[in-house]
């Protein structure tokens, strides 16, 4: 649905986006995740035609936007980072205005507005001035406006920044519902946790794509596998372990009561988990605890963007 090819954007000496290659598939929720200043908004603005790329190509639904931006615009619904509708117009007036801007016939506008006010729960506020709405209601109005012309692609720039968790959850529910209707959704965010809901994530740092994949794939990428923590008793000190499913033994520690604790990286958690007690018993150990270590996207993110070593202790301590 969206294809970015070797996209570069420079502002003077500052390189905001540095050779970004990215493909967003039809019908997925794609989260562009990165810290502030990573180049997310710049990328989105280039896709919207608001900024001209220094180099590179952008295709939206197969359309080269440098050649036919106006055609591309009709396929995109855009929700900018900050509220950008008319505060001195009412909810309804804003919706009508943008409906007309998109050249929709009058009966279609009326129909869409009725549906959307229902969908985003704004019907009782329809005659209020947009400027008098709360932050959450303003976002909902922005969604409704972006969806008016029934775009194939919805681009939301930091849609959940600064809103409370229940509303964030509601928004993601809405994104999923829209995806299930067949729309493609591109969301930028710097909240790692919420991207668990995305179908795929692109991790962006300093204008470059650091990792791309499903949330599980991203986490797996950090250690080249999944983490398992095992606590056991007895036998000699476990320093070596040979098994085809093992990537490596990450850490070993003696704990109280003569127990040992190891953290293993395995290729694929689900198939390995039942095998572990058997292996341990064969080696003469008595397993006490076998549990997967959940790596959060935040851990993965910090590991991938810092470029340095990941502090495993730090990760595991969090789930002790």
């Amino acid at each position: 649905m969206v294809e970015l090819i070797n996209l570069v954007k420079k502002f003077g000496n500052i390189v905001a986006v540095n050779g970004l290659n990215l493909e967003i598939n039809k019908g997925e929720i794609f989260a562009l995740l990165g810290p502030n200043g990573a180049g997310k908004t710049t990328t989105v603005r280039m896709i919207m035609g608001l900024l001209k790329p220094t180099r590179g190509k952008i295709f939206v639904d197969g359309i080269d936007i440098s050649k036919n931006l106006s055609e591309a615009k009709k396929r995109i619904g855009y929700v900018p980072q900050f509220f950008s509708l008319y505060e001195d117009l009412t909810v309804l007036e804003n919706l009508y205005f943008f409906g007309k801007i998109y050249d929709l016939p009058k009966n279609v506008i009326n129909e869409r507005i009725r549906e959307l006010l229902e969908a985003v729960n704004l019907r009782e506020h329809k005659d209020k001035l947009a400027g008098n709405l709360s932050g959450g209601l303003k976002r909902r109005l922005s969604f409704a406006v972006a969806l008016l012309h029934d775009p194939k692609l919805l681009i939301l720039d930091e849609p959940t920044a600064g809103i409370d968790p229940p509303l964030r959850r509601a928004f993601w529910k809405m994104f999923k519902a829209l995806r299930n209707e067949g729309k493609t959704i591109l969301v930028t965010t710097h909240y790692m946790d919420e991207t668990e809901h995305a179908d795929r994530i692109g991790l962006i740092s300093r204008g470059q794509l650091v990792a791309i994949g499903t949330p599980t794939e991203i986490k797996r990428k950090v250690f080249d596998g999944d983490l398992i923590r095992i606590v056991f008793r007895g036998g000699k000190i476990l320093t070596e372990l040979n098994a085809p499913w093992l990537v490596r033994l990450l850490r070993r520690e003696n704990t109280a009561n003569g127990e040992q604790e190891v953290v293993l990286i395995v290729k694929e958690l689900a198939s390995v988990l039942p095998k572990i007690p058997i292996v341990l018993k064969k080696l003469g150990f008595e397993p006490i605890l076998i549990e997967p270590v959940s790596v959060t996207l935040e851990d993965a993110f910090i590991a991938l963007t810092s470029g340095g070593e990941i502090n495993v202790g730090e990760i595991i301590r969090g789930y002790w």
Binding site: G49, L50, L51, K52, Y78, P80, S84, E87, I101
Partner: protein
């Protein structure tokens, strides 16, 4: 208390000098206005277009004629044979005034030492007639002395010569409000819509609504023309109410039809709006836009010719009047309200306003497309 006060002073000062573009405007505007003013008006009045009617074919009138041609103030564009022709030219606003040397001038002076001349003045130009009178009086006084001297030499005795200048006014009964009133109305018709337009796009930029608009199929044409039309309506409403006030309430004369005045106002409003939209496209924030609008107001007062005659401006600087919409309006409105001519007779400045609007609208659209990046 002093601590708090100094904190506020320090903060304001820092904020003031931090925004380089705004501080440049704040300092540059007053300096620019004074520079233009000084350059424009530091010389003498020149090039006032007049007609010269020579009814006298005696030898003495040639002395006067050459003195008039030597004047830097007067620019003789017509030479006619009679008072009536000269008066007609003034009435038609072909010239700002006329000097008439009446029949018998030379003989009267030669025989009696007394002569008279006529200065026909168009009273509809503010501040100009008095300057013309002063120059005509200077010429007459110089010429009297010269003639007296040459007659004395010829005759061998002192011959006093006295020439009386009679001023004849066209539109002489006009009050200040008759002359200035319509143009003050023009200032409102220029400034109010221009400021509205100037703020409109920059406000959309500041509020972020422009970014949203630019991601829709809306074109620059839609945006610029869509803003132009309602503001032009405001301009016309201002024109109507100002015209009513200045004529019905304050008694200024209007010899033209209200419709002609309104068309002229509309032309001015459109030109001013196109200029305002250009300001809006090139400024970064509302403060800058307001500064430019204020600049335009001052410049319009000083350099459009309605308070200070354009003839008082140096030739090299006179081009500035052509970028001020009010100049064209002033040229047209004087014809309509005072001379009572129809809009067709002053179509040139009005078409200039429409052309002006067109040029600046196209320029605004072109510059706006650059701004999208």
């Amino acid at each position: 208390m002093w601590e708090r006060l100094s904190a506020v002073i320090g903060k304001e000062w820092r904020q003031l000098i931090r925004d380089k573009r705004t501080i440049a405007l704040v300092i540059a505007l007053p300096l620019t206005v004074m520079t233009i003013f000084g350059l424009a008006y530091s010389g003498d009045m020149t090039g006032v277009k007049i007609a010269l009617a020579i009814e006298d074919d005696g030898p003495l009138s040639s002395v006067i004629i050459s003195e008039i041609f030597n004047s830097r103030v007067f620019d003789v564009v017509y030479i006619v044979d009679s008072f009536d022709e000269a008066k007609y030219l003034v009435e038609q606003a072909e010239v700002k005034g006329a000097i008439v040397i009446p029949a018998g001038f030379s003989t009267d002076i030669a025989n009696l030492g007394i002569g008279s001349m006529y200065l026909i003045l168009d009273g509809s130009w503010f501040n100009l007639p008095s300057a013309m009178q002063a120059e005509a009086n200077r010429i007459i006084s110089d010429v009297s002395d010269k003639i007296a001297l040459s007659l004395s030499v010829q005759r061998g005795y002192s011959q006093p010569v006295s020439i009386t200048l009679y001023s004849i006014w066209i539109h002489g009964s006009l009050k200040v409000i008759d002359i200035i009133g319509p143009t003050v109305m023009g200032i409102m018709v220029q400034q109010v819509p221009m400021t509205l337009a100037a703020i409109s796009i920059v406000r959309e930029r500041e509020k972020g609504t422009l970014e949203k608009l630019l991601t829709t199929p809306m074109t620059r044409f839609d945006l610029i023309i869509g803003k132009l039309i309602p503001f032009a309506v405001v301009g016309v409403i201002i024109g109507i109410s100002e015209l009513f006030m200045v004529t019905a309430v304050f008694g200024a004369i209007n010899r033209g039809t209200p419709l002609d005045v309104l068309i002229t106002s509309l032309a001015l409003a459109l030109a001013a709006l196109s200029l305002g939209l250009l300001f809006s496209v090139i400024s970064r924030n509302q403060l800058q836009t307001m500064q430019i609008s204020t600049f335009m107001l001052i410049v319009s007062f000083l350099f459009s010719g309605f308070l200070l005659p354009i003839e008082g401006m140096k030739n090299e600087i006179r081009f500035i009047v052509y970028v001020i919409p009010l100049y064209y309006f002033y040229q047209a409105i004087i014809g309509i309200t005072i001379r009572g001519v129809s809009i067709i007779d002053v179509i040139e400045p009005i078409l200039s306003l429409f052309l002006y609007a067109l040029i600046f609208l196209v320029l605004s659209m072109a510059l706006m497309s650059k701004r999208i990046g």
